[in-house]
């Protein structure tokens, strides 16, 4: 059972109310509490947080837990433990499982499994189209009734604009956000890396930014028409940032996310054909990376999400063309984001924490992202100065496919608490 905790002497950051002060934070009965509301003789278990940052539990809006169907890559048990180690108290699970999460009973199974085996909150999403085939509407209202927080065909994208219009109308009626993997597949056409200088040098088939930008534009127009809540996943191109910025200025209901790897890396990293740098959308050019950083700083891009996509080593250890897309990210996200944004003085800690907790909670309409008294005690304690080396062998995830192996990074999650229960401690 959760106890009575006093996290003392930490820098308390709560972006939900702009709080930023050194002090003590109290947890009792699984909730944040104001100690004056409890008897004076209450005995607290002290957790020394001096020199550390105490934040709302981080929320990752884009995670592939691979269950049901691919437990060799990840399970709800292993994926949520990796999440806890990364400071996350909630993850949004993508529906490209086997079977795809396009039926209420699959959602029920995931929720049940998460209750039994998960250590952080798991918010399931449901498919937009049956079987993620992009042909026929999935039972969206039933999926909502089963408890999904959003709808997405992630990993794929509905190509038919007519169908997408109906999907948006229906989702608008249900007031569920649509998480869109933006890829026009006749344009990406088998591309494996960003189309540009490096695809030309390496002789790898290019995935043009245009493939993303066409769907971002299409969906912005459709969202404008239908009033749907459009959320563009993992933006990768400067053009997409510009499109989202213009749409927001016009008042369209659109939000966007970016991954740590698109903020940290460029396609130059592909020079050795290392498949741990192969993901979809692919790493862009230096200009793309600059625009993404600008976008996350100025709020065009709302938050950061990992697109944690575990794959077995034997699947990744093949010719570049044959390797699956995707990399793990839960256990490196905070440090890579801090290296890329805070260390380079693009964001301060409150700004980063907001983009990892309060803002994704608000966009998705899920609880969390706050330290307010009365709210469930989901929190992370971060040592912003701790230097460490990324070692994939030490991951709690079942998979090791990270591009950040061997990186010297600064900033580490020391403790994670979900509803007053410690789920990770370094």
């Amino acid at each position: 059972m959760s106890g009575f905790y006093r996290l003392s002497g930490g820098r308390i950051l709560d972006p939900s109310c702009g709080r930023d002060e050194v002090g003590d934070l109290f947890v009792a009965g699984g909730r944040f509490v104001d100690p004056v509301s409890l008897p004076a003789e209450t005995s607290w278990e002290w957790i020394d947080a001096s020199g550390r940052i105490v934040t709302p539990g981080l929320i990752d809006a884009h995670v592939h837990l691979r269950e049901p169907g691919e437990p060799q890559k990840e399970t709800i048990a292993s994926g949520t433990r990796a999440a806890a180690a990364g400071g996350f108290t909630a993850v949004v699970a993508m529906p490209n499982t086997r079977p795809p999460a396009d039926q209420p009973n699959t959602i029920g199974w995931i929720r049940e499994r998460a209750r039994e085996q998960g250590v952080v909150r798991v918010y399931p999403t449901g498919c937009l189209s049956e079987g993620r085939k992009g042909e026929k509407l999935a039972p969206l209202a039933s999926l909502r009734a089963a408890g999904v927080v959003a709808l997405t065909d992630d990993g794929g994208c509905i190509q038919d604009a007519g169908l997408m219009r109906r999907v948006m109308e229906y989702a608008a009626m249900l007031d569920l956000p649509i998480l869109e993997h933006c890829e026009e597949s006749s344009v990406s056409a088998g591309g494996v890396v960003h189309e540009g200088y490096w695809s030309a040098v390496l002789g790898l088939r290019g995935w043009p930014s245009l493939a993303e930008e066409l769907i971002v534009s299409r969906d912005i127009l459709l969202a404008e028409l239908t009033g749907a809540r459009l959320h563009c996943q993992h933006l990768s191109s400067a053009g997409s940032v510009r499109l989202v910025r213009e749409a927001k200025r016009r008042g369209v209901r659109v939000t966007a996310e970016v991954t740590p790897h698109h903020l940290a890396l460029t396609d130059e990293a592909l020079a050795d054909y290392d498949t741990n740098f192969k993901m979809n959308p692919p790493l862009g050019s230096e200009a793309d990376r600059e625009a993404l950083r600008e976008g996350i700083v100025d709020g065009t891009i709302d938050f950061i999400a990992s697109d944690h996509a575990p794959h077995c080593s034997f699947e990744k250890e093949v010719e570049f063309d044959r390797a699956p897309f995707g990399i793990v990210g839960l256990e490196t996200m905070l440090a890579v984001a801090a290296e890329t944004l805070v260390k380079m003085k693009l964001l301060d800690w409150p700004g980063l924490v907001a983009r990892l907790s309060t803002i994704p909670a608000r966009v998705l309409g899920v609880p969390g992202g706050t330290l307010a008294a009365g709210a469930p005690a989901d929190l992370a304690v971060i040592d912003p100065n701790l230097q460490w080396t990324v070692n994939p062998q030490a991951f709690l995830s079942r998979s090791r496919n990270t591009p950040f192996a061997g990186w010297e990074v600064q900033g580490r999650v020391m403790l994670t608490m979900v509803e007053g229960k410690i789920v990770w401690r370094l």
Partner: protein, 323 residues
Amino acid sequence: MASENPEQIPGGRWRRRHLLGLQELEKEEILFLLDAADGIARRLEAGRELPSLRGLTAVNLFIEPSTRTRVSFELAAKRLGASVLEIDQESSSIRKGETLKDTARNLEAMGADFLVLRHSAAGAPHFLADRVRSSVINAGDGAHEHPTQGLLDLLTIRRRLGRIDGVRVAIVGDILHSRVARSDIWGLRKLGAEVTLVGPRTLLPEVFRRFGVRLSSDLDPILPWAQVMILLRIQHERQREGMFPSLGEYVSLYGLSDARLRRCPPEILLMHPGPVERGVEIESELADGPSSVILDQVTSGVAVRMAVFSELARFHRRDREGM
């Protein structure tokens, strides 16, 4: 054993275990290989003794079909006395689902000193080079590189014109999908040639300018300029992919006809990596005409591959002496 190979300088200028591409080579390394190949070509012509690779084994691992390159490597290895094992996609276990990594490690365990790899996936030789002790020689990986083809093109030009520096070379055709074009571009640019790439916009993206070359979608103005013209094979599947409307239209824009040849300088060298599709990239008679050096390329290819084997052999002699 080193005494059998007097031309080999221990600790000489060649220090790489693998030959993966020309992009990563320094100008001096390319010149070193060209000089070595030239030396071997002269020895072959004079019937003089060649370096010996007796006791070493080369495996030709051709996961993508090829005749010319495979035979050229085989001939090069055999002329030097190495044992050659031929494995193609049909006879390899890759068809049975074995991974490339496992195939290569098995071959290595059987004592292969050289793995000559032809593969449809760009980067496959790099993948192997990170995982085996054998010397990996890239015999063409997807649209990436074909370094021995690049070297033999350089050798052919140098033997004909006496230099590469300042030579004006046009490369014509499907640049986007061509590993030959990439190896040629790196080699030619590092050695100071001027290069113009010619092809339709669909097969010649603007980004190639960043290779230090000029681009033209029009062949005709390039004709009087070029001293060397490398014609690339055009694959019919590109038409199906919508890269150009018809073979007829392609030929009218980029095929080398007699009329076009007459607008080239009289001493122009016509090159083609083969196999030539007569009547498409080049009119049939021109491929056999006095300007064509296509068969010189084939001859240079054997010398280049012998030189590459000889230079990489150093690592394997040392490995054995260390045992």
